[in-house]
């Protein structure tokens, strides 16, 4: 059979050029029983890249909790996790990175990230109903950062807006560590009827295989392998590895895909993202334990003269691979014709376990499907890890090393204007947040985005969280905080935390200090997810987010971005009446702080940016106490005892109060705790705290319930009408002044 294969000589040098290790080349030869040809080697190089195989991370990912009472599809089983939300409905949701393309071509990089994550959702048969994103950039004083943020935001907007799914939430964070490597993580959530999902699977000898959607071009070739490299000065040469997106095609593909599923003629379907046809054919075949014959010349092409490996590796966007029940081809073709999309049969399912790719009748690659994929033949590595020196340094910080500033008003204004805290209005107003008429948070601001599930009593809550500075300071505690904060946001909004998806952005895994950060983060995430009963439904790993390092084993942990394991969490509101806003509602309502009070400024924006102390431990955090605090909050919300709830996070109590006061142009009058330094009380970021407001009518019942719960809480003061922010009898500013600073700071920094 292999006698007809093209005989271009490949050597270990070719393998190295494609990003494979010499031992991986040996393994491929062993699997095939011969030396691979160039096309085959290309397939292995992308399928065994970190992006597709998770070879350097899977050992640890497997330790994360996967089981939950509502899980319908667990991590790794499908393109996205699937959670039962009741009423016969399920929510498919996932987050994915598009960091490397966005670093080179921010507009297309970010746009295709949005396209890719939505395809992961609708390829399962779920209609996407909400999108979120998490963006990280370097110093805003640099022109490159301004260029990146403008391009990324426009890319996400142009793609997501045209696609017609609202962008309902997200985060934007700035730090010098992201100067070279910005992070662009996109998340999507969709709804599907239980039992009407489609699997990424192929079986049934003789069933035809179709490619649908856009034609295939040379864009994005070796994109997956590119995403598995450090960014260097030469990265611009990889520009063809960045794909180009067409949201109009994606919108048509969405409607056609959901329509074709209804015909019942589909066996299995997978979208084409990283590693294109090579990846979809091998993953679907391996899962269904069948093989395929594919004629690459039958793939609609954008240009002439494309080579077999180019067809196989192209990451042209807006395409799907569909295996159809034999005899029902016409039903499928009719749907795609209606939507004016390509729909071409390119091969069929075979009984063997091999993928055979032909070009004009000539066999060009012949590989066992299972040998390519995670859980099959793809390599699995245990990487070594060592504690970096900086970790011990963080422990040396003591609050007494920092003098309390005389003018705390100035600090308050500094923080309100800090890009990590100030309103992200400049960003989110460029996204259509209301299409679909399900976003309940537009006129009712809440910590997590609340999404109405039409036709039911339910809503879902979605949030995306990660303070990477905490994770850098202490990966294990920091990542547990990220999960806890996500849960806190869901609970504050009236929801019950249900499950998470994660996007693990780290430096070079071959660097033991980077890998130590990765291992710590996974441990912390596992602990917190177990505590909150929020299983990990899947996600994505993005390594190599660092500037040039010497070879694979080289580099320095300080060249890497902060370890950034972004947590996307889904929560459920069984009754949408429990929806809770973060905004103060009425003057005269009492303001309470729930949770432990600790004199702690560790890792706060205040310490890091105002005082310039770059190394300190993660903020105070106690997982059990946090969990207990959230449980009582769920109860007081259920009983309808509070008017608003807002979690204390970046910027501390002061910023939480200001954010609660601004939406309805109210003020507050509060007293700080005399036992704690005033700066620590106002600006410290110790975890497990929430600010709530309570009307006079419910005050007794609220206090009664809190006292019985034994969860610490204090009354801070009350909501006031005139819009002054008064702390310890001193007026800090008016709500107009605060809003003016908070709303305009980011735009000023970006456009000046």
């Amino acid at each position: 059979m292999s006698a007809t294969l093209e005989q271009v000589k490949v050597t270990v040098e070719t393998a190295k050029e494609l990003g494979l290790l010499p031992e991986e080349f040996e393994k491929i030869k062993e699997i095939l029983g011969r030396t691979p040809n160039f096309t085959e080697l290309s397939i292995y190089s992308v399928m065994w890249s970190e992006h597709c195989s998770y070879k350097n991370s899977i050992v640890w990912l497997k330790k994360l909790p996967k089981d939950g009472p509502h899980m319908l599809a667990k991590a790794g089983e499908e393109n996205a996790g699937l959670v039962d939300i009741g009423d016969g409905l399920a929510c498919a949701f996932k987050i994915e990175s598009h960091n490397h393309p966005s670093a080179l071509e921010p507009y297309q990089g970010a746009a295709t990230g949005v396209g890719g994550i939505n395809r992961d959702i609708f390829t399962m048969g779920a209609r996407p109903i909400a999108q979120l994103n998490s963006l990280r950039f370097g110093n805003l004083k640099s022109d490159r950062t301004k260029w990146l943020i403008k391009g990324v935001v426009k890319g996400i907007g142009d793609y997501g807006n045209a696609f017609g799914v609202p962008t309902v939430g997200g985060e934007v964070f700035f730090d010098d560590c992201y100067n070279t490597n910005p992070l662009v993580n996109a998340m999507s959530a969709g709804i599907v009827k239980v039992g009407e999902t489609v699997s990424a699977i192929s079986y049934g000898e003789g069933n035809p295989v179709f490619i649908v959607g856009s034609a295939t071009g040379k864009d994005g070739i070796h994109g997956a392998a590119f995403a598995s490299k450090d960014i260097t000065e030469d990265s611009a040469n990889d520009l063809p590895a960045v794909q180009v997106g067409d949201p109009f095609q994606e919108k048509l593909l969405l409607e056609a895909t959901l329509e074709v599923i209804k015909t019942g003629a589909v066996v299995g379907m997978q979208d084409m993202g990283a590693a294109g046809i090579a990846c979809s054919t091998s993953e679907m075949s391996a899962k269904g334990k069948h093989g395929m014959i594919i004629h690459l010349d039958k793939v609609p092409a954008r240009q002439e003269g494309m080579k077999p490996y180019e067809f196989l590796l192209s990451e042209s966007q807006e395409r799907m691979l569909i295996v159809v029940k034999k005899g029902r081809e016409e039903e499928v073709k009719k749907v795609f014709e209606k939507w004016d999309l390509n729909c071409s049969q390119i091969g069929e399912v075979t009984k063997s376990d091999r993928l055979k790719f032909y070009m004009h009748g000539q066999l060009v690659a012949d590989v066992p499907a299972a040998s390519l994929v995670l859980g099959g033949g793809a390599p699995v590595y245990h990487r070594e890890y060592t504690e970096p020196a900086y970790f011990a340094e963080t422990k040396k910080f003591n609050i007494n090393q920092v003098k309390e500033p005389i003018d705390l008003k100035e600090v308050a204004k500094f923080l309100l204007a800090h890009p990590n805290i100030a309103s992200k209005k400049w960003v989110y107003e460029q996204y259509d947040s209301m299409v679909g008429t399900v976003n309940m948070s537009t006129n009712f601001p809440s910590d997590a985005a609340l999404i109405n599930i039409k036709g039911t009593n339910k809503a879902i809550a979605l949030t995306i969280d990660c303070n990477s500075r905490y994770i850098h300071a202490d990966p294990e505690t920091g990542c547990a905080i990220a999960v806890a904060e996500a849960a806190r946001n869901i609970v504050c909004s009236g929801g019950l935390p249900s499950a998470i998806t994660n996007c693990l952005n780290f430096g070079n895994p071959y660097n033991p200090e980077v890998y130590w950060q990765f291992v710590g983060a996974i441990k912390g995430m596992g602990k917190a997810c177990t505590k909150f009963k929020t299983p990990v439904t899947g996600g994505n790993v993005s390594f190599y987010n660092q500037s040039s390092s010497v070879g694979k084993a080289g580099g320095n942990v300080s060249n890497a971005v902060f370890p950034t394991p972004t947590i996307g969490m889904l929560g459920i509101l069984p009754n949408k009446k429990s929806a809770t806003t973060l905004a103060f509602k009425n003057a005269g309502d009492k303001i309470y702080l729930i949770g432990e009070r600790v004199e702690d400024i560790n890792c706060s924006e205040y310490l890091y940016s105002y005082h310039g102390v770059k190394l300190s431990p993660a903020p105070y955090f106690d997982l059990d106490k946090e969990y207990d605090m959230q449980q009582i909050l769920i109860k007081v919300i259920e009983k309808g005892l509070i008017q608003s709830a807002h979690d204390v996070s970046e910027g501390g109590v002061f910023i939480a109060l200001a954010e609660a006061a601004m939406p309805n142009k109210l003020g507050f009058d509060i007293l700080t705790d005399s036992e704690i330094r005033q700066d620590a009380f106002l600006f410290g970021e110790s975890q497990g705290r929430v600010i709530v407001s309570v009307s006079k009518k419910h005050d007794d019942a609220f206090v009664d319930m809190m006292v019985k719960s034994k969860i610490p809480f204090i009354v801070l003061g009350e909501v006031t009408k005139k819009g002054k922010f008064v702390i310890d009898d001193e007026t800090y500013m008016t709500v107009e002044e605060a809003t003016n600073i908070y709303d305009n700071a980011l735009e000023k920094l970006i456009t000046e």
């Binding site: 696609f163 109009f248 259509d432 008429t437």
Partner: protein, 230 residues
């Protein structure tokens, strides 16, 4: 009375419009497909928001040539009701059913946020039953929404009471600051001289469901229905 909501490839507010008309307003609604060659007996045609045919050339520029638009234009010319929201407004301007054009927002960015508008006259079906000086909070979401026309036309629009809505502030003052996109004279919506074709950039269908905590847009649908159902 039957409403017909047209779906062009790339329309993305068609489902929202159908939901509001059918589920919230309790009306009979027919989905119309861009390749359709008849209006299925509908009396009131709605062109919803979105990015018809991708809008890569100029918003609404291609949609006007679709088979359904031939029928919509015929319907309008016979005095039938047609309303375009956002991309629908752009399509109506491109097809000549409404005067003027919608240019790129003056900040050159897509803008999605709540804005305030108020009815400019009570002459047209969509504004007739909106209380005088009532300020409506309605969202916008567009990159090309800056209304523009020549001086002569603007004069005619005023003389014939063809301006439907102005952008204003929360108190109802029509100011430069309350103009989100640089539209000429804060114009947010207009109608034709026959007062049977309406276009507006803000999305009333996004402000019609109680669960979203803003039902100001319902007033526009109620205004339409009060007349029609009489």
């Amino acid at each position: 009375m039957r409403f017909g909501v047209v779906t062009f490839p790339g329309s993305n507010c068609d489902h929202d419009m159908i939901y509001v008309l059918r589920t919230i307003m309790g009306q009979e609604v027919e989905s119309l497909w861009h390749k359709d060659k008849d209006l299925k007996g509908c009396d009131f045609i709605v062109l919803p928001g979105g990015f018809s045919y991708g809008d890569y050339l100029r918003s609404g520029a291609i949609a006007r040539f679709s088979p359904i638009m031939e029928k919509v234009i015929e319907h309008a010319n016979k005095g039938g009701y047609v309303m375009g929201i956002c991309n629908g407004f752009q399509i109506l301007c491109e097809s000549g059913l409404l005067p003027g054009a919608l240019l790129h927002n003056n900040n050159q960015r897509f803008i999605c946020k709540n804005v305030f508008i108020k009815a400019a006259s009570k002459d047209a079906l969509v504004t007739k039953h909106i209380p005088k000086n009532e300020v409506l909070k309605i969202p916008i979401a567009h990159g090309e929404g800056r209304y523009y026309t020549d001086e002569k036309t603007i004069k005619q629009l005023k003389e014939n009471n063809q301006i439907l809505f102005h952008y204003c502030d929360e108190q109802g003052n029509v100011t430069k600051e309350s103009n989100p996109n640089g539209s000429l004279e804060n114009i947010a919506g207009v109608c034709n001289s026959g007062k049977n074709v309406f276009g507006m950039m803000p999305h009333p269908e996004r402000a019609a469901d109680e669960v979203l905590n803003n039902t100001d847009g319902k007033l526009i649908f109620e205004s339409i229905l009060n007349i029609i159902n009489v």
